[in-house]
Amino acid sequence: MKKYATIAVLAATVLASFPAFAETVKVLSIEPNVKEGRDFYAAAIEKFEKANPDIKIQFDYLDDTSFKSKLPTLLQSDARPDIFFTWTGGVFHEQADAGVLRDISGDVDPKALDTFAPGGIKALTYQDKLYGLPMYAGVVVLFYNKELTDKAGVDPKSIKTWDDFLAAVKTVKEAGITPIVVGGKSKWPLQHYYGYLATRIAGTDGIAAAAAGENDGLAGPDFVKAGEEFKRLADLQPFQPGFMDTDNSKAGGLFGDGRGAFILSGNYMIGAQKRNSTSGTGISDENLGFIPFPVVEGGKGDPADTFGGINGWLVSKNATPAAAKFLESLMDLDNQTTSASMDLWLPIVKGADAGIKNANIKAIANLLAAAPHHQLYLDQELGANVGAAMNDASAQLATGDISPEEAAQMVEEANEMR
């Protein structure tokens, strides 16, 4: 009897020496492309764990490609993370349809919910259920190298319409300067042109309707028109030589090295053109400018609409309310202002843009704030299969291998295969 008592005491001591029933929240993220990204997460986790000693955060990173290929299996196993990174859009909808996500509407404090930009919350809502919280946005704009456009005698600020842009491209080319740098090997940078043109021509509502199969779906007249406009650009041979053997990060370096006047890219290019350039300093802040994507005359899209990404976190089905609690803390105003001040991304919590230091990022944030709609990158919006077909079609339009009709048809075929 005495022996049992000893064991019981021992067991009690062992149990007590652990933090009382510490709960672990497993988070799976993609590898941030800058060191500051990791630093930000580490600090945010430390802060949360200090405030909530009963919850432990286990934060893991995977590189982009492995993340995408491992996630489906992982989500359907018992080893699924409680929280994982998302690009929202079609893939998120597939995950929600498969029933591997948790509706966190009841877990999140409504007051916290109000701090987010409504578009961000919308991106993580599917069929009226909230499955996660947004963290940041990306906006694609047309960056230019002031030194080169000055040399070519082009004033980028005067470019308003697509025709203006085509004229500018011609002038720059005649001046012996490569008009546009693009990472054609990655394909999706070329899709930015096709997608943005579709956004201008069909409008965000038109794109949503086409994805649902209305008006001949993605092979409809608006998409053919977008392809035709893109082909007009491609026919000018505006891209740097060998653009199909240039991936996106090298394209950033080329642009930073002054090897082309324009690049159509998300706001991350401000940092990427520096990091990936030969000198490591890239184009100086004064010489780097941007304009919103030109307007296509007669298009149905609002000229102020933006195109880009909304990224955030999804919660998987067996997670506890602690997951939402962590997300709330990760995206509180304080953290969002900090990440904004590190120029990591465009924050999605209202007021956090006060922290942004870089003038260009600030101006892009204003663009986003003023946009009536924010169209998600088409390859994200349409899911893995159609998105990849869209990227392929854009790349083959750029190389002149297919006609705009064939491009639109190719995407629609993939859409019907869904």
């Binding site: 995408k68 995950q95 030589p241 060998g242 199909m244 053997d245 899911g383 990849a388």
Partner: protein, 312 residues
């Protein structure tokens, strides 16, 4: 069942049948003990996945949820009509031919030059074998740097020559030839080593006899050495064929299948259109075709070359 038992006993009494012998000398116990784990593992990791891939290829599945959407032969129909798949098949065929008609002759010539044991030969063998040791991904990255017309070696060369830089990997006509060259460069050393080992096993008295009879060195090679190492050449060709059908990790870093999906092999096609796009059923269909091709060529080759010409 009863018929066989009635027919068997007399024979068994005269000379113990295989089964009876196995029972007495203990090999049956060994079989019962050691066979099941091997069969189980083989079934679990080889047979079962093959059949489950065949099963999956009749479904449309995006990787989430249960596999319920039976589509019959639709995945195969799409595959047969897909022009990129035709291109990938053609590319794999080009790789296969290059492996047999470029890589193996090259390996053979080098093996004949280097098979004698001298220190210089050892050094050269090491140099030629080194590419084989490199990881495929690293090989692809190294060569993509070499061919990079902006920052790579080819940019430096073009700069020194004062010509326009060339972007061979961005050129639809040349990109796949580049891949073929890299594949040949990477694997010829492996075949060379097989040939060297075989050449060293050729009895020297045969070679000497030929020399005494006044055979030129070319004739010695043609009439003595080559016939003596034919088994190794046949084995090499088999490896070259199956290897060429499976090329994947060199293509991804070099061209990623581009430009315009013109440089896919069957496997990189499978990965890009099946896995990366989450068309799991479609990918399984490609996998089944690839499996059939591998098994088909391997067996045909075995019948044609190996069975007729004696042992391997």
């Amino acid at each position: 069942m009863t018929l066989t038992t009635q027919a068997r006993p007399p024979a068994a009494r005269r000379r113990p049948s295989g089964f009876a012998r196995m029972r007495t000398d203990g090999s049956l116990t060994a079989l019962i003990l050691f066979l099941p784990p091997a069969v189980l593992l083989f079934t679990l990791f080889v047979i079962w996945p093959i059949f489950s891939a065949m099963d999956l290829s009749f479904y449309k599945w995006n990787g989430y949820g249960d596999v319920t959407n039976f589509v019959g032969l639709r995945n195969y129909e799409i595959l047969v009509k897909n022009s990129i798949f035709h291109q990938s098949l053609f590319n794999s065929l080009k790789l296969l031919l290059a492996s047999i008609f470029l890589q193996i002759p090259l390996a053979l010539v080098l093996a004949l030059l280097l098979y004698r044991k001298t220190s210089a030969n050892t050094a050269f063998r090491l140099i030629f074998f080194a590419p084989y040791i490199l990881a495929e991904i690293a090989t692809g990255l190294i060569w993509s740097f070499i061919f990079d017309g902006d920052y790579g070696i080819s940019a430096m060369v073009a700069n020194k020559l004062g010509t326009e830089p060339f972007y061979i990997l961005a050129d639809k006509q040349w990109a796949f030839w580049t891949i073929i060259i890299v594949v040949v460069w990477k694997y010829f050393g492996y075949h060379m080593m097989i040939f060297i080992a075989a050449l060293q096993a050729v009895p020297s008295d045969l070679v000497e006899a030929a020399e005494i009879d006044g055979a030129s060195s070319l004739k010695t090679i043609w009439y003595v050495k080559l016939p003596m190492i034919m088994h190794a050449v046949k084995l090499s060709v088999l490896f070259a064929i199956t290897g060429a059908l499976q090329v994947f990790d060199i293509i991804i870093p070099l061209t990623n299948g581009g430009p315009s999906n013109s440089t896919h092999s069957i496997v990189s096609f499978l990965y890009t259109f099946g896995l990366a796009r989450m068309n799991v059923g479609f990918g399984a269909a490609v996998g089944v075709v690839l499996f059939a091709l591998c098994v088909g060529t391997a067996f045909t080759y075995k019948r044609m070359a190996i069975d007729k010409g004696g042992q391997l």
